[in-house]
């Protein structure tokens, strides 16, 4: 493939992925309001468009036209940089995610992924670990005790749960023998006895999956681990002083992180784009991407479902759960997987 074609393909892929991701972020917010509304016997958004489907557009316009207020007591450089850090690293980590096998256009095979790095999984972990600074610095630079407490909680929580998150993935890495997400998905192809798919969740990684899901919920600051923004104690936590588009950036970062978590759960434990293929050639080309999307949707729905169901942890419970339960459990999973593979 000539270099200009490669660059063109990369730019087009990046643009498509970014547009799809931002649309997905907007409609995850809509989905959350709608589903939580119905769970609480309300309607959720109904006014803007059919079923409130245009609500994200209205929200976006509102965020753009609101006054962008900078309180006088903030430390300005970091106050402005913090939402940028949060949203940039949340959006960049999607570039490692593969959505399907390669497609062949005009004789060139183009993989459905922005870039296939051989340490893709580690790069995503690195991106998310840098994203912590967005929240921590927002809390500190706001010069406000609620923000500071929110930022402190967020950084302590994320550092604590990052260890369990990393260890919960080691089992999958041992099974696949690669850090490349594409290789990990390819290692999950095929079936047991012809009908049970060889996904990692069915090949003994359910403890790893449980640890991953818990740690990932904590990493994305979602209920039941949303202590950094606990309204009852901290007003709005680290983003108390933020308004308009800067606030929207934190919001986008949170939902983009949710989508990345859902993508990783799908790729690592649920076979990625593997699924039943049937029908004509065009359908066979579209179905993998469809299966991938459907699995991500299921995980996002789970996020919302959990939000509508569970109350918030207390801070000491959060730390005890992370260090005394999740970390030992993920270590046991690593050792058990290693013994099973070495057998």
């Amino acid at each position: 493939m000539p270099i200009w074609l490669y660059i063109l393909a990369s730019v087009i892929k990046s643009a498509i992925v970014l547009v799809v991701l931002l649309t997905a972020v907007a409609y995850t917010v809509w989905l959350e309001r709608k589903v939580v509304g119905h769970m609480q016997n309300r309607w959720g958004p109904t006014r803007v468009g059919p079923f409130g489907l245009l609500q994200p557009l209205a929200d976006g316009a509102k965020f753009l036209f609101k006054e962008d207020l900078t309180p006088p007591h903030v430390y300005k450089p970091l106050y402005i940089a913090a939402p940028l850090i949060a949203v940039i690293f949340a959006l960049t980590s999607i570039s490692m995610i593969p959505f399907g096998n390669s497609v062949t256009i005009a004789g060139y095979s183009i993989p459905l992924q922005i870039t296939d790095v051989n340490t893709g999984l580690l790069v995503i972990l690195g991106m998310t670990s840098i994203g912590v600074y967005g929240v921590a610095l927002a809390g500190w630079s706001s010069n406000n005790k609620y923000s500071l407490l929110g930022g402190l909680r967020a950084s302590a929580q994320m550092v604590s749960y990052e260890i369990s998150l990393g260890l919960s993935l080691v089992g999958v890495l041992i099974m696949a023998g690669s850090f490349s997400l594409r290789d990990i998905v390819n290692s999950q192809g095929g079936h047991f006895w012809g009908f049970i798919p060889r996904w990692n969740i069915f090949t003994g990684q359910f403890i790893g999956f449980f640890c991953y899901l818990m740690a990932a919920y904590a990493e994305t600051n979602r209920i039941p681990f949303d202590l950094p923004e606990a309204e009852t104690e901290l007003v709005a936590g680290y983003h108390t002083e933020y308004s308009a588009m800067k606030f929207a950036m934190f919001f986008m970062a949170e939902y983009a992180n949710m989508i990345t978590v859902a993508c990783l759960a799908t790729l690592l434990f649920f076979g990625g784009w593997n699924g039943p293929l049937f029908g004509p050639a065009i359908l066979q080309a579209i179905l993998p991407v469809f299966w991938f999307g459907a699995k991500i949707f299921a995980f996002l729905f789970l996020y919302i479902w959990v939000r509508g169901t569970l109350p918030r942890f207390r801070y000491d419970q959060l730390m005890a759960f992370g260090w005394k339960f999740l970390l030992p459990l993920s270590l046991v999973n690593v050792i058990a997987t290693a013994i099973a593979v070495a057998w």
Binding site: T119, G126, S129, L152, V159
Partner: protein, 183 residues
């Protein structure tokens, strides 16, 4: 020959050096900590250009992502203010300047001595995760384990030094702690 690799390598090196200088020049601890993060990230870029992808990713995750978060966390928790400027200590002048001079002379001597040898090509050194794992857990298993035990001892020592002796009474001890928070 000025390839893209070399330009990027020099650019990351410049960022690392600029970050290190900024780290010393800044008066506020949080700015210094952020400069150190920039240095770490630039070093990760250098590793990546040398073909050590695994090392680069680990550098970002461990140093830039975990250790520096603890630095920032501590600065936030203590709410450390702007650093006080002093004229510098006498010890630094007596030992520091000759130390720097001797160090740079030694470095220059080593570089000149080895100037004739060929440079290692980018990616020629073992950098794949499997190779590193083999080295760590097979050839250098004993030094690796001894280092981990040393770190464990250091952690336990820090905990022992930092923890106060247990107090049985509730009244005065908690009061002083609260007073400390208030001041």
């Amino acid at each position: 020959m000025l390839s893209v690799h070399l330009i990027l390598f020099l650019a990351f090196g410049a960022v690392a050096v600029a970050g290190a200088i900024n780290l010393l020049a800044q008066t506020h601890p949080i700015n210094s900590a952020l400069s150190l993060i920039a240095v770490m990230a630039a070093l990760a870029g250098e590793y990546l250009l040398l073909g050590a992808e695994f090392l680069a990713a680990v550098q970002v995750i461990v140093y830039a992502g975990a250790i520096m978060v603890l630095f920032v966390f501590t600065i936030m928790l203590l709410n450390a203010g702007v650093e006080e400027r002093t004229k510098g200590s006498r010890v630094a002048i007596i030992f520091g300047i000759p130390g720097v001079l001797i160090g740079s002379v030694l470095l220059g001597w080593v570089m000149l001595r080895h100037s004739g040898t060929e440079a290692v090509a980018a990616g020629a050194l073992p950098g794949a995760p499997g190779v590193i794992g083999q080295l760590l857990f097979h050839e250098f298993l004993l030094p690796f384990e001894i280092t981990s035990i040393l770190i464990l001892i250091a952690i336990m020592g820090a905990v022992v030094l930092a923890s106060k002796p247990p107090t049985t009474s509730v009244g005065p001890a908690t009061l002083t702690a609260e007073q400390k928070v208030n001041t």
